[in-house]
């Protein structure tokens, strides 16, 4: 899998050390750096020779504990992807070591991407930001945008709560389970080994359809029943709603990835 060059890293509020560390983890070699020490740097970088292919620049915007306004900037043209710098010291040295292998190939497959920590995805209205940007950039006239946003939100909520934080669903009929759920959420949100896991949203589109991909780094899950039959809301993890909203739904990578398609 090759990807186009050059790659340009832009950054908001990221120090020069973290910019270079991210370039390294992404498998990039720095060509030049401009103003990175001020935390608003731009780095021109090239893919390693074995991976270089094609043409056309890609701009990756690096973010650090971003606000919603900063996330909005990271999904607007000409940015190809917004990428949060996670807290490696808290999450552990092993965190993000496969970022280049997992993330860079997607640049040639998806026009728009956002990769955030679970903490940021929990605190921000990422589904709204992502879908508004998608509507402006893709703009197929007949797409059901409200239903698309509902599906993105449900997939994102699954990736954050059940994937990244590893908190199970509460039974809709158990006050006791709801209390347990509340306690677990509260505990996990204080533990960076969970909150610094990545949640990555990707989108690609053409005149006929929009495809959304949501990936998390949790342990995955096994559906109790066939996902295709999960068409009531009480089914596992809101997947019933995604099935209701989308035309095609695929669960991959042991439950860590959901891909769904909307015909337009």
């Amino acid at each position: 899998m090759g990807f186009s060059q050059p790659i340009v890293l832009q950054a908001i509020g990221v120090n020069s050390h973290d910019i270079r560390e991210m370039a390294h983890r992404l498998g990039l070699e720095a060509a030049s750096t401009d103003g990175a020490a001020a935390g608003m740097g731009t780095m021109s970088a090239t893919p390693l020779p074995s991976e270089a292919a094609g043409a056309g620049p890609r701009i990756l915007m690096l973010l650090s504990d971003p606000s919603e306004t900063e996330i909005e900037k990271a999904v607007k043209p000409p940015i190809s992807a917004g990428l949060e710098v996670i807290d490696i010291a808290a999450a552990g040295e092993e965190a993000d070591t496969s970022l280049g292998q997992e993330f860079m190939p997607l640049l040639d497959q998806y026009q728009m991407q956002l990769s955030l920590s679970a903490a940021t995805a929990y605190d921000s209205n990422v589904a709204r930001i992502f879908c508004q940007a998608l509507a402006e950039r893709a703009a197929p006239p007949k797409c059901d945008w409200p239903m698309l946003q509902i599906a993105v939100h449900e997939a994102l909520a699954n990736a954050v709560i059940h994937g990244s934080l590893e908190v199970g669903s509460f039974s809709r009929t158990s006050l006791q389970e709801f209390e347990t759920y509340n306690k677990e959420i509260s505990t996990r949100l204080k533990d960076k080994s969970f909150t610094q896991r990545r949640v990555t949203l990707s989108a690609r589109w053409d005149e006929d359809e929009i495809e959304i991909r949501v990936q998390d780094q949790g342990p995955g899950f096994i559906l109790d029943r066939q996902a295709g039959a999960a068409n009531d809301f009480a089914s596992e993890r809101g997947l019933g709603i995604i099935h209701e909203a989308a035309d095609l739904v695929q669960i991959q990578d042991g439950g860590r990835r959901v891909i769904f398609t909307f015909a337009c």
């Binding site: 509460f170 006050l175 709801f178 509340n182 009531d232 809301f233 009480a234 019933g240 709603i241 909203a245």
Partner: protein, 101 residues
């Protein structure tokens, strides 16, 4: 999500507003606690000001139904709009808790 409540002694109206999402478990616990302490009969969740609800929000409404049954309250939903109405229809939720237009 935000809420405000109006109580006439026998019945209570709780007006929800904003977005009711998976991150609102703490604020909804306050409503569940209020239902547990409420000594009246009718408990209405007014959804007119609610702009968005997700599946976790719907799940929490079912927890409210459980508390209503436990405390012998008559729980009703009222005036869902827009996306909230759409979600209640998509999930056939209206079959589970009485809902007034």
């Amino acid at each position: 999500m935000q809420y405000r409540a109006k109580d006439d002694g026998n019945g209570k109206e709780v007006f929800l507003s904003g977005s009711f999402k998976f991150t609102d478990n703490d604020v909804f616990r306050e409503i569940i606690k209020d239902m547990e302490d409420f000594a009246g009969h009718d408990y209405i969740l007014d959804l007119d000001g609610l702009e968005y609800i997700d599946s976790a929000g719907l799940g929490m409404l079912l927890i409210a139904r459980e508390m209503a049954e436990k405390n012998s309250l008559q729980l009703r939903l009222r005036r869902p709009q827009g996306q909230v109405q759409q979600m209640l229809q998509v999930t056939k939720f209206i079959d589970l808790i009485p809902c007034e237009a």
